[in-house]
Symmetry: C2
Amino acid sequence: MKDILLVLTKTKPHQLERIKQLAVDYDVLTVDEIDENDGERVKIIYGWNRSEDVLAFIKTCVNVSWVQATSAGVDYLPENIKNNADVFVTNVSGIHAIPISETVFAYILGTYRNLFYSAKVQANNVWDVPDPNSFHSLTGKTMLIFGAGNIGEEIARIAKAFRMHTMGVNTSGKDRAFFDQMYALDKSFSAIGQADFVINALPATELTNDLYDKPFFNAMKDSALFINIGRGQAVVEEALIHALEEDLIAGAYLDVFKKEPLPSDSPLWQTKNLLITPHFSGVVEHFRDEIFPIFEENLINFIEKKEPTKNIVRSERGY
Amino acid sequence: MKDILLVLTKTKPHQLERIKQLAVDYDVLTVDEIDENDGERVKIIYGWNRSEDVLAFIKTCVNVSWVQATSAGVDYLPENIKNNADVFVTNVSGIHAIPISETVFAYILGTYRNLFYSAKVQANNVWDVPDPNSFHSLTGKTMLIFGAGNIGEEIARIAKAFRMHTMGVNTSGKDRAFFDQMYALDKSFSAIGQADFVINALPATELTNDLYDKPFFNAMKDSALFINIGRGQAVVEEALIHALEEDLIAGAYLDVFKKEPLPSDSPLWQTKNLLITPHFSGVVEHFRDEIFPIFEENLINFIEKKEPTKNIVRSERGY
Protein backbone atom coordinates (compact mmCIF):
# COMPACT_ATOMS: atom_id res chain seq x y z
CA MET A 1 0.00 0.00 0.00
CA LYS A 2 1.23 3.44 -0.92
CA ASP A 3 1.62 6.31 1.57
CA ILE A 4 -1.03 9.01 1.33
CA LEU A 5 -0.60 12.69 0.51
CA LEU A 6 -3.77 14.25 1.95
CA VAL A 7 -4.93 17.50 0.35
CA LEU A 8 -7.07 19.54 2.78
CA THR A 9 -6.90 22.93 1.08
CA LYS A 10 -8.78 24.08 -2.02
CA THR A 11 -6.55 23.28 -4.95
CA LYS A 12 -7.00 24.11 -8.62
CA PRO A 13 -7.26 21.11 -11.01
CA HIS A 14 -3.91 21.87 -12.67
CA GLN A 15 -2.27 22.16 -9.25
CA LEU A 16 -3.68 18.76 -8.24
CA GLU A 17 -2.34 17.30 -11.49
CA ARG A 18 1.08 18.71 -10.72
CA ILE A 19 1.03 17.19 -7.23
CA LYS A 20 0.20 13.76 -8.67
CA GLN A 21 2.98 14.14 -11.23
CA LEU A 22 5.52 14.86 -8.51
CA ALA A 23 4.26 12.40 -5.90
CA VAL A 24 4.02 9.28 -8.08
CA ASP A 25 4.72 6.95 -5.15
CA TYR A 26 1.83 8.39 -3.13
CA ASP A 27 -1.91 8.13 -3.23
CA VAL A 28 -2.89 11.80 -3.60
CA LEU A 29 -6.33 12.10 -1.98
CA THR A 30 -8.64 14.99 -1.13
CA VAL A 31 -10.83 15.02 1.97
CA ASP A 32 -13.76 13.50 0.09
CA GLU A 33 -11.72 10.57 -1.18
CA ILE A 34 -10.35 9.46 2.16
CA ASP A 35 -11.46 6.29 3.92
CA GLU A 36 -11.67 6.47 7.71
CA ASN A 37 -9.31 3.49 8.00
CA ASP A 38 -6.60 5.17 5.94
CA GLY A 39 -5.19 7.23 8.82
CA GLU A 40 -2.00 5.26 9.33
CA ARG A 41 -1.04 5.62 5.67
CA VAL A 42 -1.11 9.45 5.73
CA LYS A 43 2.46 10.76 5.43
CA ILE A 44 1.96 14.32 4.10
CA ILE A 45 -0.84 16.80 4.82
CA TYR A 46 -1.31 19.86 2.59
CA GLY A 47 -3.50 22.47 4.27
CA TRP A 48 -5.76 21.99 7.27
CA ASN A 49 -9.42 21.64 8.09
CA ARG A 50 -10.97 22.40 11.46
CA SER A 51 -14.23 20.46 11.01
CA GLU A 52 -14.78 17.84 13.73
CA ASP A 53 -14.86 14.91 11.27
CA VAL A 54 -11.54 15.81 9.76
CA LEU A 55 -9.90 16.53 13.11
CA ALA A 56 -11.06 13.11 14.35
CA PHE A 57 -9.57 11.47 11.27
CA ILE A 58 -6.28 13.36 11.68
CA LYS A 59 -5.96 11.91 15.20
CA THR A 60 -5.60 8.49 13.55
CA CYS A 61 -2.77 9.77 11.31
CA VAL A 62 0.05 8.63 13.58
CA ASN A 63 2.69 8.37 10.84
CA VAL A 64 2.58 11.91 9.47
CA SER A 65 6.04 13.23 8.53
CA TRP A 66 5.17 16.66 7.20
CA VAL A 67 2.33 19.17 7.40
CA GLN A 68 2.33 22.07 4.94
CA ALA A 69 0.15 24.68 6.64
CA THR A 70 -1.55 27.32 4.48
CA SER A 71 -1.28 29.98 7.22
CA ALA A 72 1.57 31.93 8.77
CA GLY A 73 0.82 31.08 12.43
CA VAL A 74 0.36 27.38 13.30
CA ASP A 75 -0.81 27.65 16.91
CA TYR A 76 -4.03 25.79 15.94
CA LEU A 77 -2.16 22.55 15.11
CA PRO A 78 -2.47 19.75 17.71
CA GLU A 79 0.44 19.29 20.11
CA ASN A 80 1.41 15.86 18.70
CA ILE A 81 2.10 17.53 15.37
CA LYS A 82 3.50 20.96 16.16
CA ASN A 83 5.68 19.83 19.06
CA ASN A 84 6.78 16.53 17.55
CA ALA A 85 10.43 16.40 16.50
CA ASP A 86 9.58 13.72 13.93
CA VAL A 87 7.09 15.92 12.07
CA PHE A 88 8.11 18.74 9.79
CA VAL A 89 5.74 21.70 9.85
CA THR A 90 6.04 24.31 7.12
CA ASN A 91 3.93 27.45 6.82
CA VAL A 92 3.27 30.08 4.15
CA SER A 93 4.85 32.95 6.06
CA GLY A 94 5.67 35.70 3.61
CA ILE A 95 2.65 35.66 1.33
CA HIS A 96 0.65 37.75 3.79
CA ALA A 97 3.28 40.48 4.05
CA ILE A 98 2.05 42.49 1.08
CA PRO A 99 -1.70 42.45 1.83
CA ILE A 100 -1.07 43.16 5.52
CA SER A 101 1.19 46.09 4.65
CA GLU A 102 -1.41 47.44 2.22
CA THR A 103 -4.09 47.14 4.91
CA VAL A 104 -1.94 49.00 7.45
CA PHE A 105 -1.48 51.91 5.01
CA ALA A 106 -5.18 51.84 4.13
CA TYR A 107 -5.92 52.51 7.79
CA ILE A 108 -3.21 55.11 8.33
CA LEU A 109 -3.92 57.08 5.16
CA GLY A 110 -7.70 56.82 5.52
CA THR A 111 -7.35 58.31 9.01
CA TYR A 112 -4.75 60.97 8.13
CA ARG A 113 -6.69 62.12 5.04
CA ASN A 114 -10.17 62.03 6.69
CA LEU A 115 -11.62 59.54 4.17
CA PHE A 116 -13.31 57.39 6.83
CA TYR A 117 -14.99 60.55 8.06
CA SER A 118 -16.17 61.58 4.58
CA ALA A 119 -17.38 58.06 3.75
CA LYS A 120 -19.51 58.19 6.89
CA VAL A 121 -21.08 61.62 6.45
CA GLN A 122 -21.69 61.35 2.69
CA ALA A 123 -25.13 59.88 3.45
CA ASN A 124 -26.18 63.33 4.74
CA ASN A 125 -25.73 65.04 1.32
CA VAL A 126 -23.76 67.81 3.01
CA TRP A 127 -20.49 69.49 1.91
CA ASP A 128 -18.80 68.82 5.25
CA VAL A 129 -15.18 70.06 5.37
CA PRO A 130 -13.24 68.77 8.39
CA ASP A 131 -10.98 71.07 10.44
CA PRO A 132 -7.79 71.73 8.42
CA ASN A 133 -5.78 70.74 11.52
CA SER A 134 -7.20 67.22 11.31
CA PHE A 135 -5.34 66.54 8.04
CA HIS A 136 -1.88 65.04 8.25
CA SER A 137 0.84 63.79 5.94
CA LEU A 138 3.06 60.75 6.39
CA THR A 139 6.13 62.75 5.35
CA GLY A 140 8.57 63.01 8.24
CA LYS A 141 6.46 60.93 10.62
CA THR A 142 7.97 58.12 12.70
CA MET A 143 6.77 54.52 12.60
CA LEU A 144 7.70 52.00 15.29
CA ILE A 145 7.19 48.40 14.18
CA PHE A 146 7.35 45.52 16.66
CA GLY A 147 8.44 42.53 14.59
CA ALA A 148 10.92 42.97 11.77
CA GLY A 149 10.24 39.78 9.83
CA ASN A 150 8.61 39.59 6.39
CA ILE A 151 5.59 41.63 7.45
CA GLY A 152 7.41 44.30 9.43
CA GLU A 153 9.97 44.71 6.68
CA GLU A 154 7.35 45.18 3.95
CA ILE A 155 5.56 47.80 6.07
CA ALA A 156 8.89 49.59 6.65
CA ARG A 157 9.69 49.49 2.92
CA ILE A 158 6.46 51.31 2.05
CA ALA A 159 6.96 53.71 4.98
CA LYS A 160 10.33 54.72 3.50
CA ALA A 161 8.63 55.39 0.14
CA PHE A 162 6.29 57.76 2.04
CA ARG A 163 9.41 59.51 3.43
CA MET A 164 8.94 58.30 7.00
CA HIS A 165 11.43 57.50 9.73
CA THR A 166 11.30 53.78 10.59
CA MET A 167 12.17 52.14 13.90
CA GLY A 168 11.96 48.39 14.37
CA VAL A 169 11.95 45.99 17.30
CA ASN A 170 13.13 42.40 17.24
CA THR A 171 14.65 39.98 19.75
CA SER A 172 18.25 40.95 19.07
CA GLY A 173 18.06 44.57 17.93
CA LYS A 174 20.06 43.54 14.87
CA ASP A 175 19.91 45.77 11.76
CA ARG A 176 17.25 45.05 9.14
CA ALA A 177 16.63 46.48 5.68
CA PHE A 178 14.30 49.52 5.50
CA PHE A 179 14.65 50.26 9.22
CA ASP A 180 16.52 53.44 10.16
CA GLN A 181 16.92 52.20 13.72
CA MET A 182 16.50 48.86 15.48
CA TYR A 183 15.83 48.11 19.13
CA ALA A 184 15.99 44.87 21.08
CA LEU A 185 12.57 44.10 22.60
CA ASP A 186 13.83 44.55 26.17
CA LYS A 187 15.31 47.96 25.31
CA SER A 188 12.45 49.30 23.21
CA PHE A 189 10.44 51.20 25.84
CA SER A 190 12.26 54.48 25.20
CA ALA A 191 11.26 54.38 21.53
CA ILE A 192 7.51 54.37 22.17
CA GLY A 193 7.20 58.08 22.88
CA GLN A 194 8.91 59.02 19.61
CA ALA A 195 6.44 57.19 17.39
CA ASP A 196 3.49 58.58 15.43
CA PHE A 197 2.47 54.99 14.64
CA VAL A 198 3.04 51.86 16.70
CA ILE A 199 2.47 48.62 14.85
CA ASN A 200 2.38 45.12 16.30
CA ALA A 201 3.59 42.62 13.72
CA LEU A 202 4.98 40.13 16.24
CA PRO A 203 3.96 36.48 16.10
CA ALA A 204 2.21 34.87 19.07
CA THR A 205 4.78 33.76 21.61
CA GLU A 206 4.76 33.85 25.39
CA LEU A 207 7.17 36.80 25.28
CA THR A 208 4.59 39.02 23.63
CA ASN A 209 1.50 38.20 25.72
CA ASP A 210 -0.01 41.43 27.07
CA LEU A 211 2.95 43.44 25.75
CA TYR A 212 0.69 46.41 24.96
CA ASP A 213 -0.58 47.33 28.40
CA LYS A 214 -1.44 50.47 30.35
CA PRO A 215 2.19 51.67 30.81
CA PHE A 216 2.76 51.09 27.10
CA PHE A 217 -0.20 53.20 25.97
CA ASN A 218 0.68 55.85 28.56
CA ALA A 219 4.12 56.13 26.95
CA MET A 220 2.67 56.78 23.48
CA LYS A 221 2.18 60.30 22.09
CA ASP A 222 -1.42 61.49 22.38
CA SER A 223 -1.40 62.08 18.62
CA ALA A 224 -0.22 58.54 17.81
CA LEU A 225 -2.10 55.61 16.25
CA PHE A 226 -1.81 51.98 17.42
CA ILE A 227 -2.24 49.08 15.01
CA ASN A 228 -2.42 45.35 15.74
CA ILE A 229 -2.17 43.04 12.76
CA GLY A 230 -0.06 40.49 14.70
CA ARG A 231 -1.82 38.42 17.32
CA GLY A 232 -4.68 39.31 19.67
CA GLN A 233 -3.09 38.11 22.89
CA ALA A 234 -0.43 40.83 22.65
CA VAL A 235 -2.91 43.55 23.62
CA VAL A 236 -4.54 44.22 27.00
CA GLU A 237 -7.89 45.20 25.55
CA GLU A 238 -9.11 47.08 28.64
CA ALA A 239 -5.93 49.19 28.61
CA LEU A 240 -6.45 50.07 24.94
CA ILE A 241 -10.10 50.99 25.51
CA HIS A 242 -9.05 53.26 28.38
CA ALA A 243 -6.32 54.91 26.28
CA LEU A 244 -8.77 55.62 23.44
CA GLU A 245 -11.70 56.79 25.55
CA GLU A 246 -9.43 59.13 27.55
CA ASP A 247 -7.67 60.47 24.41
CA LEU A 248 -4.29 59.20 25.63
CA ILE A 249 -3.77 58.11 22.00
CA ALA A 250 -5.49 59.40 18.85
CA GLY A 251 -6.74 56.16 17.33
CA ALA A 252 -6.30 52.43 16.86
CA TYR A 253 -6.93 49.64 14.40
CA LEU A 254 -7.33 46.03 15.50
CA ASP A 255 -7.53 43.11 13.08
CA VAL A 256 -6.88 40.40 15.71
CA PHE A 257 -8.36 39.77 19.13
CA LYS A 258 -7.95 37.65 22.26
CA LYS A 259 -11.19 35.88 21.36
CA GLU A 260 -12.18 35.44 17.70
CA PRO A 261 -14.78 35.98 16.40
CA LEU A 262 -14.92 39.05 18.64
CA PRO A 263 -18.11 38.56 20.75
CA SER A 264 -20.94 40.94 19.92
CA ASP A 265 -21.00 42.17 23.54
CA SER A 266 -17.34 43.23 23.49
CA PRO A 267 -16.97 46.91 24.39
CA LEU A 268 -14.32 47.20 21.64
CA TRP A 269 -17.00 47.49 18.92
CA GLN A 270 -18.15 50.86 20.22
CA THR A 271 -14.84 52.24 21.48
CA LYS A 272 -14.01 55.76 20.31
CA ASN A 273 -11.55 56.17 17.40
CA LEU A 274 -11.13 52.40 17.01
CA LEU A 275 -11.43 50.54 13.70
CA ILE A 276 -12.17 46.82 13.88
CA THR A 277 -11.79 44.29 11.06
CA PRO A 278 -12.50 40.56 11.34
CA HIS A 279 -8.95 39.14 11.07
CA PHE A 280 -8.73 39.80 7.34
CA SER A 281 -5.68 42.05 6.93
CA GLY A 282 -3.66 39.22 5.37
CA VAL A 283 -6.26 37.97 2.89
CA VAL A 284 -4.42 37.36 -0.36
CA GLU A 285 -5.97 38.16 -3.73
CA HIS A 286 -5.03 34.89 -5.47
CA PHE A 287 -4.51 32.68 -2.45
CA ARG A 288 -4.23 29.30 -4.16
CA ASP A 289 -1.75 30.69 -6.67
CA GLU A 290 0.38 32.26 -3.94
CA ILE A 291 0.62 29.23 -1.65
CA PHE A 292 1.08 26.51 -4.26
CA PRO A 293 4.69 27.31 -5.28
CA ILE A 294 5.73 27.03 -1.63
CA PHE A 295 4.15 23.59 -1.31
CA GLU A 296 5.51 22.54 -4.70
CA GLU A 297 9.11 23.39 -3.82
CA ASN A 298 8.81 21.64 -0.46
CA LEU A 299 7.24 18.59 -2.06
CA ILE A 300 10.09 18.22 -4.57
CA ASN A 301 12.61 18.37 -1.73
CA PHE A 302 10.61 16.09 0.55
CA ILE A 303 10.48 13.43 -2.13
CA GLU A 304 14.14 13.77 -3.10
CA LYS A 305 15.76 14.45 0.28
CA LYS A 306 13.09 13.42 2.78
CA GLU A 307 12.65 16.96 4.06
CA PRO A 308 10.95 20.20 3.04
CA THR A 309 13.22 23.23 2.79
CA LYS A 310 11.00 26.30 2.64
CA ASN A 311 9.33 28.01 5.62
CA ILE A 312 10.10 25.36 8.20
CA VAL A 313 8.47 26.31 11.50
CA ARG A 314 10.93 26.38 14.38
CA SER A 315 8.66 25.06 17.09
CA GLU A 316 10.94 26.11 19.96
CA ARG A 317 10.08 29.77 19.19
CA GLY A 318 6.39 29.09 18.88
CA TYR A 319 6.17 30.05 15.20
CA MET B 1 4.76 107.41 -0.44
CA LYS B 2 6.01 103.83 -0.40
CA ASP B 3 4.51 101.04 -2.49
CA ILE B 4 2.40 98.53 -0.57
CA LEU B 5 2.93 94.80 -0.12
CA LEU B 6 -0.55 93.55 0.80
CA VAL B 7 -0.71 90.34 2.85
CA LEU B 8 -4.06 88.58 2.37
CA THR B 9 -3.13 85.11 3.65
CA LYS B 10 -2.70 84.03 7.29
CA THR B 11 0.94 84.56 8.10
CA LYS B 12 2.84 83.65 11.24
CA PRO B 13 4.41 86.57 13.19
CA HIS B 14 7.98 85.50 12.37
CA GLN B 15 7.04 85.19 8.68
CA LEU B 16 5.59 88.73 8.71
CA GLU B 17 8.80 89.95 10.34
CA ARG B 18 10.84 88.29 7.61
CA ILE B 19 8.72 89.95 4.90
CA LYS B 20 9.27 93.37 6.47
CA GLN B 21 12.99 92.68 6.70
CA LEU B 22 13.16 91.86 2.99
CA ALA B 23 10.75 94.51 1.72
CA VAL B 24 12.22 97.55 3.50
CA ASP B 25 11.09 99.90 0.74
CA TYR B 26 7.47 98.79 1.03
CA ASP B 27 4.67 99.34 3.49
CA VAL B 28 3.83 95.76 4.47
CA LEU B 29 0.15 95.78 5.41
CA THR B 30 -2.41 93.11 6.29
CA VAL B 31 -6.05 93.34 5.27
CA ASP B 32 -7.00 95.03 8.56
CA GLU B 33 -4.37 97.73 8.16
CA ILE B 34 -5.34 98.87 4.69
CA ASP B 35 -7.04 102.19 3.98
CA GLU B 36 -9.63 102.16 1.18
CA ASN B 37 -7.74 104.95 -0.61
CA ASP B 38 -4.48 102.99 -0.71
CA GLY B 39 -5.39 100.92 -3.78
CA GLU B 40 -3.09 102.64 -6.24
CA ARG B 41 -0.07 102.08 -4.00
CA VAL B 42 -0.47 98.26 -3.92
CA LYS B 43 2.35 96.65 -5.91
CA ILE B 44 2.49 93.10 -4.49
CA ILE B 45 -0.33 90.87 -3.21
CA TYR B 46 0.47 87.79 -1.12
CA GLY B 47 -2.50 85.41 -0.99
CA TRP B 48 -6.11 86.18 -1.87
CA ASN B 49 -9.40 86.86 -0.18
CA ARG B 50 -12.80 86.34 -1.77
CA SER B 51 -14.84 88.51 0.59
CA GLU B 52 -16.78 91.25 -1.22
CA ASP B 53 -15.06 94.09 0.65
CA VAL B 54 -11.60 92.89 -0.27
CA LEU B 55 -12.53 92.16 -3.89
CA ALA B 56 -13.91 95.70 -4.18
CA PHE B 57 -10.67 97.11 -2.80
CA ILE B 58 -8.57 94.97 -5.15
CA LYS B 59 -10.43 96.51 -8.11
CA THR B 60 -8.81 99.84 -7.14
CA CYS B 61 -5.34 98.27 -7.18
CA VAL B 62 -4.51 99.24 -10.74
CA ASN B 63 -0.72 99.21 -10.29
CA VAL B 64 -0.23 95.63 -9.09
CA SER B 65 2.91 94.00 -10.53
CA TRP B 66 2.81 90.62 -8.85
CA VAL B 67 0.27 88.34 -7.16
CA GLN B 68 1.59 85.38 -5.20
CA ALA B 69 -1.38 83.01 -5.04
CA THR B 70 -1.54 80.44 -2.24
CA SER B 71 -3.29 77.86 -4.45
CA ALA B 72 -2.23 75.74 -7.42
CA GLY B 73 -5.06 76.78 -9.79
CA VAL B 74 -5.65 80.51 -10.24
CA ASP B 75 -8.87 80.46 -12.30
CA TYR B 76 -10.58 82.55 -9.57
CA LEU B 77 -8.35 85.60 -10.18
CA PRO B 78 -10.01 88.50 -12.05
CA GLU B 79 -9.26 88.83 -15.77
CA ASN B 80 -7.32 92.10 -15.38
CA ILE B 81 -4.82 90.27 -13.20
CA LYS B 82 -4.53 86.76 -14.63
CA ASN B 83 -4.59 87.84 -18.27
CA ASN B 84 -2.51 90.97 -17.87
CA ALA B 85 0.98 90.77 -19.40
CA ASP B 86 2.18 93.43 -16.93
CA VAL B 87 1.25 91.36 -13.87
CA PHE B 88 3.24 88.38 -12.69
CA VAL B 89 1.14 85.63 -11.17
CA THR B 90 2.88 82.92 -9.17
CA ASN B 91 1.19 79.95 -7.52
CA VAL B 92 2.16 77.28 -4.96
CA SER B 93 1.93 74.37 -7.37
CA GLY B 94 3.90 71.45 -5.93
CA ILE B 95 3.04 71.67 -2.26
CA HIS B 96 -0.23 69.80 -2.82
CA ALA B 97 1.41 66.86 -4.60
CA ILE B 98 2.17 64.86 -1.46
CA PRO B 99 -1.18 65.25 0.33
CA ILE B 100 -3.08 64.58 -2.91
CA SER B 101 -1.04 61.46 -3.58
CA GLU B 102 -1.62 60.25 -0.02
CA THR B 103 -5.35 60.85 -0.43
CA VAL B 104 -5.44 58.88 -3.69
CA PHE B 105 -3.79 55.88 -2.02
CA ALA B 106 -6.08 56.23 1.01
CA TYR B 107 -9.03 55.72 -1.34
CA ILE B 108 -7.49 52.91 -3.41
CA LEU B 109 -6.19 50.94 -0.42
CA GLY B 110 -9.32 51.50 1.66
CA THR B 111 -11.39 50.10 -1.21
CA TYR B 112 -9.03 47.21 -2.10
CA ARG B 113 -8.69 46.12 1.55
CA ASN B 114 -12.39 46.58 2.47
CA LEU B 115 -11.72 49.09 5.26
CA PHE B 116 -14.53 51.44 4.21
CA TYR B 117 -16.86 48.45 4.41
CA SER B 118 -15.65 47.43 7.87
CA ALA B 119 -15.77 51.01 9.17
CA LYS B 120 -19.41 51.15 8.09
CA VAL B 121 -20.63 47.84 9.52
CA GLN B 122 -18.70 48.05 12.80
CA ALA B 123 -21.71 49.81 14.36
CA ASN B 124 -23.62 46.50 14.11
CA ASN B 125 -21.27 44.67 16.55
CA VAL B 126 -21.03 41.79 14.06
CA TRP B 127 -17.95 39.83 12.91
CA ASP B 128 -18.69 40.43 9.24
CA VAL B 129 -16.09 38.93 6.89
CA PRO B 130 -16.38 40.15 3.28
CA ASP B 131 -16.12 37.73 0.34
CA PRO B 132 -12.43 36.76 -0.09
CA ASN B 133 -12.76 37.66 -3.79
CA SER B 134 -13.44 41.28 -2.84
CA PHE B 135 -9.89 41.71 -1.49
CA HIS B 136 -7.23 42.92 -3.89
CA SER B 137 -3.57 43.89 -3.86
CA LEU B 138 -1.89 46.75 -5.69
CA THR B 139 0.97 44.48 -6.77
CA GLY B 140 1.00 44.09 -10.54
CA LYS B 141 -1.96 46.42 -11.10
CA THR B 142 -1.87 49.15 -13.74
CA MET B 143 -2.43 52.84 -13.02
CA LEU B 144 -3.20 55.35 -15.77
CA ILE B 145 -2.61 58.94 -14.69
CA PHE B 146 -3.82 61.87 -16.78
CA GLY B 147 -1.43 64.69 -15.96
CA ALA B 148 2.23 63.97 -15.32
CA GLY B 149 3.20 67.17 -13.49
CA ASN B 150 4.11 67.39 -9.80
CA ILE B 151 0.96 65.63 -8.66
CA GLY B 152 0.89 62.86 -11.26
CA GLU B 153 4.56 62.17 -10.74
CA GLU B 154 4.23 61.85 -6.96
CA ILE B 155 1.30 59.44 -7.39
CA ALA B 156 3.35 57.40 -9.88
CA ARG B 157 6.32 57.33 -7.51
CA ILE B 158 4.25 55.75 -4.74
CA ALA B 159 2.59 53.40 -7.27
CA LYS B 160 6.03 52.08 -8.22
CA ALA B 161 6.78 51.45 -4.52
CA PHE B 162 3.59 49.34 -4.44
CA ARG B 163 4.98 47.38 -7.43
CA MET B 164 2.47 48.73 -9.95
CA HIS B 165 2.71 49.40 -13.67
CA THR B 166 2.39 53.14 -14.36
CA MET B 167 1.10 54.80 -17.51
CA GLY B 168 0.95 58.57 -17.86
CA VAL B 169 -0.70 61.04 -20.18
CA ASN B 170 0.54 64.53 -20.98
CA THR B 171 0.32 66.89 -23.96
CA SER B 172 3.44 65.61 -25.69
CA GLY B 173 3.72 61.98 -24.58
CA LYS B 174 7.27 62.76 -23.49
CA ASP B 175 8.93 60.46 -20.91
CA ARG B 176 8.61 61.33 -17.23
CA ALA B 177 10.19 59.84 -14.11
CA PHE B 178 8.26 57.00 -12.41
CA PHE B 179 6.12 56.34 -15.51
CA ASP B 180 6.71 53.04 -17.32
CA GLN B 181 4.88 54.36 -20.36
CA MET B 182 3.72 57.77 -21.57
CA TYR B 183 0.94 58.67 -24.00
CA ALA B 184 0.11 61.95 -25.69
CA LEU B 185 -3.42 63.03 -24.74
CA ASP B 186 -4.74 62.59 -28.29
CA LYS B 187 -3.34 59.04 -28.47
CA SER B 188 -4.33 57.89 -25.00
CA PHE B 189 -7.68 56.22 -25.68
CA SER B 190 -6.15 52.79 -26.25
CA ALA B 191 -4.59 52.87 -22.78
CA ILE B 192 -7.89 53.20 -20.92
CA GLY B 193 -8.87 49.53 -21.16
CA GLN B 194 -5.57 48.37 -19.66
CA ALA B 195 -5.93 50.34 -16.45
CA ASP B 196 -7.08 49.14 -13.03
CA PHE B 197 -7.07 52.77 -11.88
CA VAL B 198 -7.68 55.90 -13.93
CA ILE B 199 -6.68 59.13 -12.21
CA ASN B 200 -7.39 62.66 -13.38
CA ALA B 201 -4.62 64.99 -12.22
CA LEU B 202 -4.95 67.43 -15.13
CA PRO B 203 -5.36 71.15 -14.48
CA ALA B 204 -8.46 72.97 -15.71
CA THR B 205 -7.99 73.94 -19.35
CA GLU B 206 -10.40 73.96 -22.25
CA LEU B 207 -8.69 70.83 -23.61
CA THR B 208 -9.82 68.76 -20.65
CA ASN B 209 -13.44 69.91 -20.35
CA ASP B 210 -15.73 66.84 -20.33
CA LEU B 211 -12.78 64.58 -21.12
CA TYR B 212 -14.26 61.77 -19.01
CA ASP B 213 -17.48 61.05 -20.84
CA LYS B 214 -19.64 58.04 -21.72
CA PRO B 215 -17.24 56.56 -24.33
CA PHE B 216 -14.39 56.98 -21.84
CA PHE B 217 -16.14 55.10 -19.01
CA ASN B 218 -17.31 52.46 -21.51
CA ALA B 219 -13.66 51.86 -22.44
CA MET B 220 -12.64 51.23 -18.81
CA LYS B 221 -12.42 47.71 -17.29
CA ASP B 222 -15.49 46.83 -15.23
CA SER B 223 -13.13 46.13 -12.31
CA ALA B 224 -11.44 49.54 -12.54
CA LEU B 225 -11.66 52.56 -10.23
CA PHE B 226 -11.90 56.18 -11.42
CA ILE B 227 -10.46 59.05 -9.36
CA ASN B 228 -10.77 62.79 -9.90
CA ILE B 229 -8.48 65.00 -7.83
CA GLY B 230 -7.87 67.44 -10.74
CA ARG B 231 -10.74 69.70 -11.73
CA GLY B 232 -14.48 69.12 -11.71
CA GLN B 233 -15.19 70.29 -15.25
CA ALA B 234 -13.22 67.35 -16.67
CA VAL B 235 -15.97 64.86 -15.76
CA VAL B 236 -19.41 64.42 -17.34
CA GLU B 237 -21.16 63.69 -14.07
CA GLU B 238 -24.21 62.00 -15.66
CA ALA B 239 -21.91 59.63 -17.56
CA LEU B 240 -20.06 58.71 -14.38
CA ILE B 241 -23.30 58.10 -12.49
CA HIS B 242 -24.48 55.84 -15.31
CA ALA B 243 -21.20 53.89 -15.36
CA LEU B 244 -21.35 53.31 -11.60
CA GLU B 245 -25.03 52.44 -11.35
CA GLU B 246 -24.75 49.98 -14.26
CA ASP B 247 -21.50 48.44 -12.89
CA LEU B 248 -19.56 49.45 -16.00
CA ILE B 249 -16.79 50.38 -13.56
CA ALA B 250 -16.23 49.15 -9.99
CA GLY B 251 -15.98 52.43 -8.12
CA ALA B 252 -15.03 56.09 -8.14
CA TYR B 253 -13.75 58.84 -5.92
CA LEU B 254 -14.44 62.52 -6.62
CA ASP B 255 -12.84 65.38 -4.70
CA VAL B 256 -13.77 68.11 -7.22
CA PHE B 257 -17.03 68.98 -8.96
CA LYS B 258 -18.51 71.14 -11.70
CA LYS B 259 -20.28 73.12 -9.01
CA GLU B 260 -18.72 73.54 -5.57
CA PRO B 261 -19.94 73.15 -2.90
CA LEU B 262 -21.73 70.18 -4.47
CA PRO B 263 -25.47 71.01 -4.11
CA SER B 264 -27.33 68.83 -1.61
CA ASP B 265 -29.75 67.72 -4.34
CA SER B 266 -26.97 66.36 -6.58
CA PRO B 267 -27.56 62.68 -7.39
CA LEU B 268 -23.82 62.10 -6.93
CA TRP B 269 -24.19 61.95 -3.13
CA GLN B 270 -26.17 58.73 -3.30
CA THR B 271 -24.52 57.12 -6.33
CA LYS B 272 -23.42 53.50 -5.85
CA ASN B 273 -19.73 52.82 -5.14
CA LEU B 274 -18.85 56.52 -5.21
CA LEU B 275 -16.85 58.30 -2.51
CA ILE B 276 -17.23 62.08 -2.29
CA THR B 277 -14.95 64.48 -0.43
CA PRO B 278 -15.37 68.28 -0.29
CA HIS B 279 -12.32 69.40 -2.34
CA PHE B 280 -9.87 68.60 0.43
CA SER B 281 -7.44 66.11 -1.13
CA GLY B 282 -4.68 68.72 -1.27
CA VAL B 283 -5.00 70.10 2.25
CA VAL B 284 -1.49 70.47 3.58
CA GLU B 285 -0.61 69.70 7.19
CA HIS B 286 1.48 72.83 7.85
CA PHE B 287 0.14 75.09 5.13
CA ARG B 288 1.71 78.39 6.17
CA ASP B 289 5.10 76.72 6.59
CA GLU B 290 4.87 75.07 3.16
CA ILE B 291 3.87 78.15 1.17
CA PHE B 292 6.07 80.74 2.84
CA PRO B 293 9.45 79.63 1.36
CA ILE B 294 7.96 79.94 -2.15
CA PHE B 295 6.83 83.50 -1.49
CA GLU B 296 10.10 84.33 0.26
CA GLU B 297 12.24 83.21 -2.69
CA ASN B 298 10.03 85.10 -5.13
CA LEU B 299 10.09 88.22 -2.97
CA ILE B 300 13.90 88.27 -2.86
CA ASN B 301 14.03 88.02 -6.65
CA PHE B 302 11.25 90.53 -7.20
CA ILE B 303 13.07 93.09 -5.09
CA GLU B 304 16.46 92.43 -6.67
CA LYS B 305 15.51 91.72 -10.31
CA LYS B 306 11.95 93.05 -10.57
CA GLU B 307 10.50 89.62 -11.19
CA PRO B 308 9.57 86.50 -9.23
CA THR B 309 11.22 83.26 -10.41
CA LYS B 310 9.36 80.38 -8.80
CA ASN B 311 6.05 78.91 -10.00
CA ILE B 312 5.22 81.58 -12.55
CA VAL B 313 1.80 80.88 -14.05
CA ARG B 314 1.86 80.70 -17.84
CA SER B 315 -1.52 82.23 -18.51
CA GLU B 316 -1.66 81.07 -22.14
CA ARG B 317 -2.13 77.49 -20.91
CA GLY B 318 -4.71 78.45 -18.34
CA TYR B 319 -2.65 77.42 -15.33
